[in-house]
């Protein structure tokens, strides 16, 4: 339906889970949430076509969207969780170090902050080697990437989420999952999708450091302070794993996952002749 549905190859993953073509997933009849947020699942100014159905990861965005006057929600669980089911590990690898995610900008907004101070804090905090994940918008900026390479971190990027069905790295989440499974800890300077993915993949989480600012950030949903009020258990350098896992299950919508056949029905992925 909307090209955002293809971001990070999410529709591709769901299509594969549903037993359909991974490379050319069928059109999804509605909007698929493509990242965790503290609002209704989409950015505050996202436009929806009339009567659109919205497929959220979990129930909380549905409730918030309902309050915004929106209807036609169905929560399905994050595609990342489905990917975990599809890509089960034959044997777990020994985990080491921290996969650190810098709060990333996007094609329309760059981040600004004190990278050196963040590096110092990471060095003070992380006990093992650090792999630093940058979204390509930062990865392609030598002045940003250089900070972390010069600090001795291994710097990785999982590719592009794509735009208008172009340049979508369909294996974006595959690569992210693979890296997460190799690390003991996952950390970020903001509570974000990657932290929840990390916890889901078995990492110990940490959220600390300069949260940095992004151009054009819309504080409509309450911003960082609301995150601190709602999910204090997810913030800090040492977090209770059990509490984090419980919150992660809720935020990624684990209980809302459904069998492949049901997913095909829900997405209208069945041709009627």
């Amino acid at each position: 339906m909307h090209h955002h549905n293809h971001y990070y190859g999410q529709t591709h993953i769901l299509a594969r889970y549903a037993g359909l073509d991974f490379d050319h997933p069928p059109r999804l009849r509605g909007y698929l949430q493509h990242g965790w947020n503290i609002g209704c699942g989409w950015n505050p100014v996202h436009e929806f076509y009339d009567g659109a159905w919205r497929f959220t990861w979990s129930d909380a965005p549905r409730r918030r969207g309902h309050a915004l006057g929106r209807r036609n929600y169905h929560s399905i669980g994050a595609p990342f969780l489905y990917l975990q089911e599809l890509e089960q590990q034959a044997e777990p690898v020994e985990r080491e170090g921290t996969l650190w995610f810098l709060f990333h900008g996007w094609e329309g907004g760059k981040i600004h902050g004190d990278h050196q101070r963040l590096i110092d804090e990471i060095r003070e905090t992380e006990p093992g080697p650090v792999t630093f994940s940058l979204y390509y918008t930062e990865y392609d900026r030598p002045e940003v990437r250089g900070y972390y390479e010069d600090a001795g971190f291994r710097v990785v990027s999982f590719g592009q989420r794509g735009f208008s069905y172009e340049r979508t790295d369909r294996r974006f989440l595959f690569k992210q999952l693979d890296e997460l499974r190799r690390h003991k800890r996952v950390a970020a300077n903001r509570l974000s999708t990657a932290i929840f993915y990390g916890v889901a993949a078995g990492c110990e989480p940490a959220v600390y450091g300069d949260p940095m600012e992004m151009e054009g950030e819309n504080p409509l949903f309450g911003g960082q302070s609301r995150i601190e009020r709602l999910w204090p258990e997810m913030l800090g350098k040492s977090i209770d794993l059990g509490a984090a896992q419980a919150t992660t299950d809720l935020e990624l919508g684990k209980p809302w996952m459904m069998p492949p056949a049901e997913l095909r029905m829900l997405f209208d992925w069945r041709e009627r002749v």
Partner: protein, 555 residues
Amino acid sequence: MSDLQVVLGEMQPWTDSTDHRPALAALLADALPSERRTLIVGPHSRPLISAVLDRAADTTVLVRSVSDAEELAAEFGDRLQVVAGALDGLQAEPFQVVVAADGLDRVLGYDSGDLSWTERLQTLTALAAPDAVVVLALQNEFSLLNLLDSRPADQRHGDDEWRPLHDDPTRPVSVDQFASALPWTAQLYADFGSRAFVAAEVAAAARPGELPTRLAVDALDAADVPVLSPIADGVDSAARAGLLSAIPTGWIAICGMHAEHDLYAQTGPSVLTADKTPTGWQTSITGGTSPADGLLFDPPVVPAKVPDGTSVESALIRLAAAEDVPAFRKLAARLGEWAADSPVVLRWDDVVIDGESFAHGVSPWVTEEPTDSADLLAAAWYRFHDRLIGQHRRHPWPPWMVGDDLVSTWMSMSGIELPEPVQATSPDTPPASAGHVARGKELAAALAGVLETREHAAADVRTALADAERARQELFELRGHVFGLERTLGFRNKAMKTRENRIRELRTQLQKVTADHNRIRGSRTYALSRVVFHAAQIRKPRVVARKVARRVRKR
């Protein structure tokens, strides 16, 4: 044929219609003492009169219609003393039993005085001995059916309202008012459409989804009254407020005796009785096995004990409204396991949540032939589907799933497999559960038929409006869908154009490279370079020189 006595106030020509009310007959059979001098006041059905006659010693019936009186006299002969006339026209010694189970609205003629309900009660009281057993009915002007009646006041009542009866200010309109108005101590029953009678205190304690509430909904749903909105919603709201006893179609007062059971309900051709116990209901049901519309009425399958608790349907509706699909799925899975050996045609509105498990309610309907449990499960889900969607209840499933797909989905939640994956571009194959769904649909339709509920009647006004709104919404959403499709096509088209432009660019680059290549190959420099290249490859220059010289000589 007995002698027909005619007293003041008789009507001719006139007739009062009566309906057989088996549940009321069972209630009277329990309540009336035997071998007493009895007066039946007002029109009553033949089976009801027979039930009274079976117990009474000497029975008189008073009806206002002469023709009705003649028919009764002809039918019952000497067993029944028939009087034609109005209540205030009858002069007789007080009776030991007075039965006015039709109430006091059809006991006066057009020549009678304008007696209020209270005055009619006083007249009736005068005909009862001081220690008489009196059975008196009263229509409830505050009944839910009245409140939801879509007809205006001037169209609700028929030819017998030559004087308005229902706006009589002396007429009781609540349990308390009725009890206070009676000169006797009474046991009151809430009368739901003459199909279910529930002891007033039991009705007041009933909550949504519990047995009395469920039976009240079924009974009122069978009433032939055009309504503004679904009856079930109102009944459930009243039950939540503890007001189920306040909204029946009427009440029956049993004065001077006590009926045996807390609840009497018509079910199929029989009557179910039930008594409240600390943990639920002790039930019994009369009648034998009999076929009806493809199903079998089989009283022995009704459990003697039905646990207290709400229905599965109530729980499912709440979960669907909360859009809590995970909890809905869990409940459906548990139902699938539990229903594997169901003896009856399943209906979630008659399955009770019993702790961690479930229990059958009081439905006695089974299939004539042994039926696959998956078919019974499908029947339950289909009935639930019709009630959830038909009543416009809130739920989280998109419109394209509504129908067989949604039933199949719920069945898969209950453990019945869904179809194998099929490419969206390939023709669809029938779901593995399609056969079960189709059979379930048939069973659900057969069940609705024998239950005689409103599901077969015209939609209420609210539902009709909601249906129209749903159609408008569907159109609105389909337009949005078309817009979305066009936009997707636009995105894809854009992507195609991007690729097309890239191909054009590559072609242009190829042409340029080819032209450059050809130009280079045609130049003297290239030719010289080739000669030099070949000359460089000569390993034996003398041999080559001799061959070249030989060719030159030949020319």
